[in-house]
């Protein structure tokens, strides 16, 4: 009994190589007016993940969520022997646009998939597919993604900086004309302290002034905000 168990365990450990698979990950921006900052797409071991909902964000998650900087999260993944594609869209992914990250064959240890990127403009909003188990059978698999809030910055909805800890929203040059100016800021907003599903933005009807620099007609969203399609070949 014991012997046969060990034999079958050995067979199991070999079998994944028999089913070696390559992975392509397509990300579609489903929103009306929110851009995605550079995305990080990673096949990684189950020993690492970007965040846990309900827990405080790491500094590297904060950098991504407040300023779109994925370098810290990318290094975390590399240190865990993950296979990542950083910034597959070569810049901002516009509403309605799609991009494909080719992960190739990530190897048997990288059993998980994570996709992450900032929602722009926002204070600390991001899209993510967090630590799902990669499918192994050949085929096409689709996932609908929700908007998350890193909980590291108050959602004041006015212009500011993208560096961690700097209040307000960093606005990249291509979006300059789409973001208002001179908003007084949403009253009572505070950094929530934990990662959670984003409650959305308020915005207003005023290009200049008003309570928010978000355009209520353009920057509000309802979930889902992105679609990820994984092709296993």
């Amino acid at each position: 009994m014991k012997k046969s168990l060990i034999v079958s365990l050995i067979a199991l450990s070999i079998s994944p190589t028999l089913f070696a698979a390559t992975y392509k990950v397509e990300v579609v921006n489903l929103t009306r007016g929110i851009y995605f900052a550079p995305l990080l797409v990673s096949a990684h071991p189950s020993t690492i993940k970007h965040f846990t909902a309900g827990m405080a964000a790491s500094t590297n998650l904060q950098k991504m969520a407040e300023g779109g900087d994925i370098s810290g999260l990318s290094t975390d993944m590399t240190n865990a022997s993950a296979i990542s594609v950083a910034n597959p869209a070569a810049g901002l992914l516009a509403p309605g646009a799609k991009t494909i990250a080719d992960l190739g064959d990530p190897g048997t240890a990288n059993t998980q998939l994570s996709v992450i990127g900032m929602m722009v403009p926002s204070n600390d909003g991001f899209i993510t597919l967090n630590n799902i188990t990669l499918p192994t059978a050949h085929g096409t698999y689709t996932y609908l993604l929700n908007g998350y809030d890193a909980g590291t910055e108050a959602n004041d909805e006015i212009r500011g900086g993208g560096a961690p800890g700097v209040a307000g929203m960093g606005v990249p040059a291509p979006l300059e004309a789409m973001v208002g100016t001179g908003g007084t800021g949403i009253v009572g907003a505070t950094a929530e302290g934990f990662v959670h599903i984003h409650r959305g933005v308020i915005g207003d009807q005023h290009k200049t002034g008003g309570v928010s620099d978000h355009d209520a007609g353009l920057h509000r969203w309802l979930n889902p905000v992105a679609r990820v399609t994984v092709t296993v070949e």
Binding site: P95, G139, T142, R220, W221, P224, R227
Partner: protein, 281 residues
């Protein structure tokens, strides 16, 4: 367009007639796991991680090769659409049974004029005419009336198709959210080839913005009962001018004084529940 929504007032009677055929207690997967391979999003969409690469169980029998005529299968479907919103009447749903690979809309692409007529005015006529002239379409149908919040409607479709094509069975459904400028919901080429006779599948649908009309929410431009404004207008003045997920309405209760809408017309996803049942011919 106004008359389309005035029809809605008579709807409550027809609902009583259709309700008996309706609620399947949301039996999402009655027969096989592959049936969960569906959502309102696109051809290849699956709600959560289900393979669309599964081979079809419907195959041509070898005996059919004897006959010069290809073997055929009768596909009989009952589609029930339930309006899950609080204050958005749905226009009479257009339903098209067609071959996979063909889509009537895609997020990120401009809407066709036929879709614009549904999204802005709730009128499915030209979209169905257009679909019926397409070789990819087997059959189409529409709900007899609009669907009030909380109400449901049923559409029956029956088509005789070449058995070898049953692996291509796809369904598209489209309805306007009446109290919007150009909001709509539905199914986007959902593959139903794995739906066995006697089984049903249920999909909750999300709301889209056609990108064909600016979301002014004004009394002049929203055709539903909350405003009774204009329906279809060929002018395209939206930005972005492509189909996207709808961001919801703002309403006069939320810093949009010119809006004809109030909190009563706001919604969140999902907005409709669509059950597809395949019955024996």
């Amino acid at each position: 367009m106004k008359n389309l929504f005035s029809v809605i007032t008579t709807l409550s009677i027809s609902i009583l007639l259709t309700a008996c055929g309706g609620d399947n207690k949301h039996n999402t997967m009655k027969s096989s796991a592959s049936i969960s391979a569906a959502s309102g999003m696109s051809t290849s969409s699956t709600m959560m991680a289900s393979s669309t690469a599964m081979t079809s169980s419907a195959v041509m029998t070898s005996s059919s090769a004897i006959s010069s005529m290809p073997a055929t299968t009768v596909v009989k479907l009952t589609i029930t659409i339930t309006n899950l919103t609080a204050g958005q009447p749905l226009s009479p749903t257009a339903v098209v049974l067609h071959k996979s690979g063909s889509t009537l809309f895609q997020v990120g692409e401009p809407a066709s004029v036929e879709l614009e007529r549904i999204a802005e005015g709730g009128d499915p006529t030209s979209l169905l005419e257009d679909a019926n002239s397409d070789q990819a379409t087997w059959i189409s149908g529409q709900a007899a009336n609009g669907i009030l919040p909380g109400a449901k409607a049923t559409v029956m479709l029956e088509a005789t198709i070449v058995t070898a094509d049953t692996s291509l069975l796809s369904l598209t459904a489209l309805s306007m959210l009446g109290n919007t400028n150009d909001g709509f919901t539905g199914l986007n080429a959902v593959n139903i080839s794995q739906l066995a006779v006697g089984s049903s599948m249920t999909i909750d649908t999300v709301s889209y913005d056609a990108g064909t009309e600016q979301n002014t929410e004004s009394a002049a431009t929203v055709p539903g009962p909350a405003a009774m404004g204009e329906g279809f207008n060929a002018m395209r003045d939206d930005n972005p001018s492509v189909i996207s997920m709808h961001s919801g309405v703002i309403s006069k209760d939320d810093d949009m004084p010119m809006s004809a809408l109030s909190h009563l017309q706001r919604w969140d996803n999902p907005v409709a529940r669509i059950t597809i049942t395949r019955s024996a011919p």
